[in-house]
Amino acid sequence: MKIRNLSFFLKALVLILNLGLGAVAWAVQPDEILSDLALEARARSLSQELRCLVCRNENIDESHAELARDLRVLVRERLQEGDSDTEALAFITARYGEYVLLMPRATGANWVLYLAGPLMLIIGAGLAFLFVRRRSVAPDEAPLSVQDQAQLAGILAQAQKSELKDPPQ
C-alpha cells in the first residue's frame, strides 16, 4: 500500500519535472551560448576562473546553481560590451568580492601563498645539496665491531652450509 502510494507520488513528480516547475539549471545552458565563437570561448575560460558563491567548490562554468547562471550571463554581457578579460573579472570582483576569484590575486599577504612553493623548493634544494655533499665526502663506514664480525662469520658459515645442502640450479 505504502509502496503504491510512493510510486504514485513519484509519477506526479515526474509530471512536475516535465512541466519544468521543479527544474534546476544545468551548468552552461544552450540559450546562454553566444553566437560569436571567439567571445564564447573567452567567456568559457573566464567562467572557469570564477567561483560559484553558493556552491562548495565549483566554478560557475560547472555549477548548476541559479546564481552561477546569472554570473555566466553577466560575464557574457560584459564581454559583448567590449570588456577585456581583466576588465570583466574586475567588474565581477568589484561586485562580489575577491571570494569569487579561484586564482587569488597576488596582492598583500597573498604573496606568501605564491612564494611558499618556490621558496620551499629553493630552501629544500639547498639543504638537500648540503646533505648530499656531506655524504659524498664523509669518511667511509666505521669497520665492523668484533661482535658484528662474529655474527657475520656465523651467517656466512650457515649460508655456506645451506648452499651445500641445496645447491643453486
Binding site: 509502496i3 510512493l6 510510486s7 507520488f9 513519484l10 509519477k11 513528480l13 515526474v14 519535472l17 516535465n18 519544468g20 521543479g22 527544474a23 534546476v24 544545468w26 551548468a27 552552461v28 545552458q29 544552450p30 540559450d31 551560448i33 572557469q48 576562473e49 567561483r51 567548490n57 565549483e58 566554478n59 560547472e62 568580492g97 575577491e98 571570494y99 569569487v100 576569484l101 579561484l102 586564482m103 587569488p104 598583500g108 599577504a109 597573498n110 601563498l113 605564491y114 611558499a116 612553493g117 620551499m120 623548493l121 629544500g124 634544494a125 638537500a128 648530499v132 655533499r133 655524504r135 659524498s136 664523509a138 669518511p139 663506514e141 656465523g154 651467517i155 650457515q158 649460508a159 645451506s162
Partner: protein
C-alpha cells in the same frame, strides 16, 4: 539489544585500547616480558570488539532500525540494500567507526604477523597503535556516538544523499581509510624506533611493506573517488582540487616520498632522520585530512565556530600526536646517524630529489588548501584558492619529477655515471620526442599541452621499460630473464609506467576534449567529432527511491550504429535533490559522454555531449601504480620482511 551490545563493545574497546597503550610500553621501558606480552592479545581483542560494534551498526542499518539517530538521518526503507550497508560509513559517526575498525585491523595484523619482530619493538609499536585507538575511540564515544537512540522513532528515515548512492562511492571510503589509517603503522614504527633510539636497515624493511600496503589502498581509493566524480557529477571532470580531495592527496604524496626514502634506509642506511620525519608527517597529513573532512572547517569557518566540539577534539588529537611526535623527533633525530657514503651523482641523490619534489609539492597543496582559512582568520580576507591556482602551482613539480624519473631509476647506487646512464636512455628519449613531434604534427593550431604531455608520458613509460630491460643483462636469454626478474622489479616498472600513463592521459584529456551543448528535438541528429548522435526518445521511469527521465540516444559512426546510451535525470524526493546520471560509451581511445539536461519551453531537450580522449587511461595509470605496489608487496623479500627477520644470525633471504 544488538545495538546496545555494539555500544557496549565499543566502550569495552576503549578500555582495552587503554590497556594496550599503557602496559606494553611500561613493559618495554622496564624490560618486563609479561607486560610486553599483553600487546598481542589486546590488539586482537580490540579488533574483535570493534568488529562486533561495526556489525551491530550494520545490522541496525540493514534492519532500518529508526530508533537510532544516524539510521534515521541517513537511511530509508526503500533504499537498495547495497546503499543501506554503505550508509553505515556514509555519515560522520559511522565513518569514524570504520576508521577505528581499520585502525584495529592494522594493529591486529601487526600483532599477528609481527611474530618475529624484536619483542620490545613490537610492544612499543602496538602501544603507539593503541594510543591512536584510545584517542579516536574517546572522540567517538564523547562527541560522535553512532549508537545514540531516539526517544520517539519516526516511521521512516531521511535517506542518504543521492550523490552517495552509487557503487563507486560505496567502496571509495573503505579503500581511502585503509590508506589513511595504514599510515598509522609507519607512524607507530617511527615512534617506537625513536623511543628505542635505533633505526637500521632492518627497520626500513619492516616499515616498507606496511607503508606499501597503505599506499596501494590510498592510490585505489583516490582513483575511485576521481572516477566517481567523472561519471557522477555530470561534466566529466576528474579532479577538482577540492579540500576533501587534497586531504587524501597530501598523505599520498608524502607516502610516496616515504616509500622511496625507506629504500635508502633499507639499502644504504642513509636518510634515516628524514625518513622518520616523513613517517610522522604521512600520518600527520592523514589526521589533517580527517580534521578537514570531519570538522567542516574548510566549507565555512563559521560552521566550525558554531559547532566547534568535534573540530576542537580532532585538533587536540592532531596537536597531541604531531606535537608529541615532533618533540620526540627533535630530541632523538641527532642520534640517527647516516652511514652510507655516496657521490653527488648516485641513486641516493636521485631519491633525495624525488623526496624533495614530492615533499615540496605536498607543501604547495597544503598551503593552498589552508590559505583561505589563514587569510580569513588573520586578515578577515575572504578569498578562494581553486583549480587554476593548483594547476599552475602543482604541475611544474610533476613535470620535473617525470623528467628526472627515468634517469634517476637507473643510476647506480653509491656512485653513478651520468653519461653512461644517459647513454642507455637515448632510445627512450628519441622515441618520446618523436612521439611528441608526431602528435604536434597531427594536431594543428591547438595548445602545446598535448604534444608535451605525450612526450613526457612516453619518456616515463619508455624509461620504465628500459629500466626493466636493463636489468636482464646481456645475451640471448634476456626475455627469459625478464620474466624471472624479482616481483619488486616488476612492481617498480609497473608503478613508474603507470605514472607516465596518467601524466599523458591528464594532458591529453585536458588538451583535446571537445564539448557540445545544444537543444535537441526528439529524432534530431547532431555531430560530435567524427560521430553522429540521435536523440531517439525520452521516457519517464520511476526508480526504487527516485523518479527518473531516461533518454535513448544512438551513436553512429560512418553510417553504422556504434552504441545506444541512456543518460538519466533523477529526482530523489526524500532529499529533494536532482542528480544527473551521465551515460558513457567507454572506449580504449575515447569516451563519449552524454548528459541529458532540461526540457526546453520551446520544445526539445538541452543535451550536453563530450568527446573525452584517453579518459580511461587516467585511472588505468593509477591502477598500474597500485598493481605495481601489489607486485612489490608480494615479492618474497617483503613477505619475509613483514615479520620474519633473523634475530639470531640466520641467513638473510636474499
Amino acid at each position: 539489544m544488538i545495538v546496545e551490545l555494539g555500544h557496549f563493545t565499543l566502550i569495552l574497546a576503549l578500555m582495552v585500547a587503554c590497556v594496550q597503550m599503557i602496559l606494553p610500553m611500561i613493559g618495554a621501558q622496564t624490560g618486563r616480558r609479561s607486560l610486553m606480552a599483553t600487546a598481542v592479545p589486546t590488539a586482537i581483542l580490540q579488533l574483535i570488539l570493534i568488529g562486533v560494534s561495526f556489525a551491530a551498526l550494520t545490522y541496525a542499518f540493514v534492519q532500518s532500525d529508526f530508533s537510532l539517530r544516524i539510521v534515521v538521518e541517513n537511511s530509508h526503507t526503500l533504499k537498495p540494500m547495497l546503499y543501506k550497508i554503505s550508509g553505515v560509513w556514509g555519515n560522520h559517526e559511522g565513518s569514524l567507526l570504520l576508521w577505528v575498525l581499520i585502525l584495529a585491523l592494522f594493529g591486529a595484523s601487526a600483532a599477528l604477523f609481527g611474530g618475529n619482530l624484536p619483542h620490545k619493538l613490537r610492544a612499543r609499536v602496538l602501544s603507539v597503535q593503541g594510543s591512536i585507538g584510545v584517542a579516536f575511540l574517546a572522540f567517538m564515544i564523547l562527541t560522535s556516538n553512532p549508537f545514540e537512540r531516539l526517544t520517539e522513532p519516526p516511521f521512516n528515515g531521511n535517506d542518504l544523499n543521492p550523490l552517495l548512492q552509487d557503487p563507486g562511492l560505496a567502496f571509495h571510503p573503505p579503500f581511502l581509510y585503509l590508506g589513511y589509517v595504514g599510515m598509522s603503522m609507519a607512524f607507530s614504527f617511527a615512534i617506537a624506533a625513536l623511543i628505542e633510539g635505533r633505526v637500521d636497515a632492518a627497520w626500513g624493511r619492516w616499515v616498507r611493506p606496511w607503508t606499501l600496503a597503505a599506499w596501494v589502498f590510498l592510490t585505489i581509493g583516490i582513483a575511485m573517488g576521481s572516477w566517481w566524480a567523472y561519471y557522477e557529477l555530470g561534466w566529466g571532470g576528474f579532479w577538482f582540487w577540492d579540500p576533501v580531495e587534497n586531504a587524501s592527496f597530501m598523505p599520498w604524496l608524502i607516502a610516496t616520498a616515504l616509500l622511496h626514502s625507506a629504500i635508502v634506509v633499507e639499502k644504504r642506511e642513509s636518510l634515516k632522520s628524514w625518513t622518520m620525519l616523513l613517517a610522522i608527517l604521512a600520518f600527520g597529513f592523514s589526521l589533517i585530512g580527517t580534521f578537514i573532512v570531519r570538522s567542516g572547517v574548510i566549507t565555512s569557518v563559521h560552521a566550525f565556530a558554531n559547532d566547534p566540539e568535534r573540530g576542537v577534539f580532532i585538533l587536540m588529537i592532531l596537536a597531541v600526536f604531531m606535537g608529541g611526535a615532533l618533540m620526540l623527533y627533535a630530541a632523538r633525530a641527532s642520534t640517527l646517524e647516516s652511514k652510507g657514503v655516496f657521490g653527488l651523482v648516485s641513486r641516493e641523490t636521485a631519491l633525495v630529489l624525488n623526496n624533495l619534489l614530492l615533499a615540496v609539492s605536498c607543501f604547495v597543496v597544503f598551503v593552498g588548501t589552508i590559505w583561505p582559512l589563514v587569510a580569513e582568520m588573520l586578515w578577515q580576507r575572504k578569498l578562494s584558492v581553486g583549480a587554476p591556482f593548483f594547476d599552475a602551482a602543482f604541475s611544474p613539480f610533476i613535470v620535473l619529477l617525470a623528467l628526472a624519473l627515468p634517469l634517476g631509476s637507473i643510476l647506480a647506487w653509491k656512485r653513478g655515471k651520468l653519461g653512461r646512464s644517459f647513454g642507455q636512455l637515448w632510445g627512450a628519449l628519441v622515441l618520446a620526442i618523436a612521439l611528441g613531434a608526431l602528435v604536434f604534427a597531427l594536431q594543428t593550431g591547438r595548445s602545446a599541452l598535448g604534444p608535451v604531455g605525450a612526450a613526457l608520458g612516453a619518456w616515463v613509460v619508455f624509461g620504465a621499460v628500459n629500466d626493466m630491460w636493463g636489468r636482464t643483462g646481456r645475451g640471448a636469454v634476456r626475455f627469459g630473464r625478464l620474466l624471472r626478474l624479482p616481483r619488486a622489479d616488476w612492481g617498480r616498472g609497473f608503478s613508474h609506467a603507470g605514472l607516465g600513463v596518467t601524466v599523458f592521459a591528464v594532458s591529453a584529456i585536458t588538451a583535446w576534449q571537445s564539448e557540445d551543448i545544444r537543444v535537441v528535438q526528439l529524432g534530431e541528429t547532431f555531430p560530435l567529432g567524427a560521430y553522429k548522435i540521435t536523440l531517439d526518445a525520452v521516457k519517464d521511469a520511476p526508480g526504487p527511491n527516485y523518479a527518473a527521465q531516461i533518454a535513448t540516444m544512438i551513436i553512429h559512426a560512418n553510417g553504422q550504429e556504434v552504441n545506444r546510451l541512456y543518460p538519466e535525470k533523477r529526482f530523489y524526493p526524500v532529499q529533494g535533490m536532482p542528480t544527473t546520471e551521465a551515460a558513457i560509451d567507454q572506449g580504449f581511445f575515447r569516451d563519449i559522454y552524454l548528459v541529458l539536461g532540461d526540457k526546453q519551453e520551446v520544445g526539445g531537450w538541452a543535451v550536453r555531449s563530450y568527446l573525452k580522449p584517453f579518459a580511461n587511461w587516467i585511472w588505468g595509470g593509477c591502477l598500474m601504480m597500485a598493481l605495481g605496489g601489489f607486485l612489490s608487496l608480494s615479492d618474497r623479500r617483503h613477505r619475509v620482511a613483514a615479520g620474519a627477520r633473523p634475530t639470531q644470525g640466520q641467513p638473510d633471504e636474499d
